[in-house]
Amino acid sequence: MEIKNIAPPLLVLMLFLAIWSFAAHLYDMVFLLPGPMTVALAFVSDFEIILEGVTITLREALTGYILAIIIGITSAAIMSQSKILERSFYPYAILLQTVPVVAVAPLIVLWFGFDEKSVIIISLIISLFPIINNTLLGLKSTSNNLVELFQMHNSSRLVNFFKLRLPAAIPNIIAGLRISAGLSIIGAIVGEFIIGSGSEGGGLGVQVIYAQGNLETPLVMALILTATFMGFAFFMTVSTIGHQLLKHWHESAQNE
């Protein structure tokens, strides 16, 4: 990366830190608004707790995400094969998106227990819809000429799907996976919020609740920042993989 690309956001960051520092200094109440240095110190001194939180949350989010990919792509593939199936099930896929997950989460915990299982399911629910929606859109928008070309040479439904519709949908699928990457981590943290107000240890969401109970605001902020960057890093990883897959042939991955 070139300096002219890094410099502007870096400048914004420094400005932000300066204002934050100044405000914290003005307030002078560490449990309300700790300054950036205090948060950084909390990050260092509680590094082990944070690292444990990252490991657990990442494991939960990744499991939920992978399940969402499998379920999402499979159900979109099935819906793309039949108008009746699509009409029957797509409205419920939308409900998956519009259901207030935060409100449903306690129910899920009630049904599946106060453990990782529930967290994974919440993460799965929140990341599922973008994958279904984008995959379905991609599978349905194959160019008409290509469909006719395959029809001309009597290709079967299966061949049509694997040699034409699925590869043609990859750019859309990747778009869905990018959106869901960040969501899966948010889902995991929402789940952790519900299950864990109790003990020390556990994912980032559990740690936030615990630290908040102890009025350890610097740690709360360190945990929130960690979660944010974790989501960002996950998004960037998925984007990079997507870019590698598309760089040979798709417009979205050119001129970069």
């Binding site: 000429n145 006719e148 990859i170």
Partner: protein, 240 residues
């Protein structure tokens, strides 16, 4: 022989094609010209078997292999040139991996795309895409080739070069060709026979035999060539 008898096509309210009869001899090069929306592409798709006629039928010899060349080349953007050339052999049964590779290579050579095997469609010019599309069809040794305005998206110079190449390929491979175009001079340059269609509902209003033996750059300035072009253009104009 491919014979079209009494073919009519309605799309909902639109009467696209009206009672068309046409016999095309084996090895013939026939071009269908007509104004936009006259149903000429529809007729070509009916001959291909891609759409069913409302009335009438199309008879083709049993076991004849056809290929369709689309206006926009219809390449798979995620496959490189070599893999695109192999595509139809994967869809049709009975080609071994080895055979697919070697046939694709020689077809690519025939259309002058050797050295571009690893390129992707977005890296090719319009003319090269169309060459690849032709090569992809030719690997099947088709009995008939259906071309739907294949040259409408390339520049004038490339178009003339490609017309000459299509003519050479047709002479060499001896397939039956049915071309749809709105470019009258292209039609006359390439075909044994030009079919003129009326505006919608499209039907055949005129047929012109084109007698020239030698088809090269000099033909374009031949007065007889110009005369036939003018005759067909005149027919098209009087119907508008």
């Amino acid at each position: 022989m491919i014979s079209v008898s009494g073919v009519t096509k309605h799309f909902d309210e639109v009467h696209a094609l009206d009672h068309s009869d046409l016999d095309i001899a084996t090895g013939e090069f026939v071009t269908i010209v007509g104004p936009s929306g006259c149903g000429k592409s529809t007729l070509l798709r009916i001959i291909a078997g891609l759409i069913n006629p409302t009335e009438g039928s199309v008879n083709k010899p049993d076991d004849s292999m056809g290929a369709f060349v689309f206006q926009d080349a219809a390449l798979l953007p995620w496959r490189n040139v070599q893999k695109n050339a192999e595509l139809l052999m994967e869809l049709e049964d009975g080609f071994s991996k080895h055979e697919r590779v070697s046939r694709a290579c020689s077809a690519l050579q025939q259309v002058g795309l050797e050295g571009f095997e690893e390129s992707y469609p977005h890296q090719l010019s319009g003319g090269m895409k169309m060459r690849l599309s032709l090569a992809r069809s030719l690997v099947l040794n088709p009995d008939y080739l259906l071309l739907d305005e294949p040259l409408s998206a390339v520049d004038e110079l490339t178009r003339e070069l490609l017309q000459e190449e299509i003519h050479t390929l047709w002479k060499k491979e001896k397939f039956t060709a049915i071309l749809v175009t709105h470019n009258v001079s292209e039609a006359v340059f390439l075909s044994n026979r030009v079919i003129v269609m009326s505006p919608r509902p499209g039907h055949i209003i005129h047929m012109v035999d084109v007698p020239f033996k030698k088809r090269d750059q000099t033909l374009r300035s031949n007065p007889k060539f110009t005369k036939i072009v003018n005759e067909i253009s005149g027919k098209l104009r009087t119907w508008k």
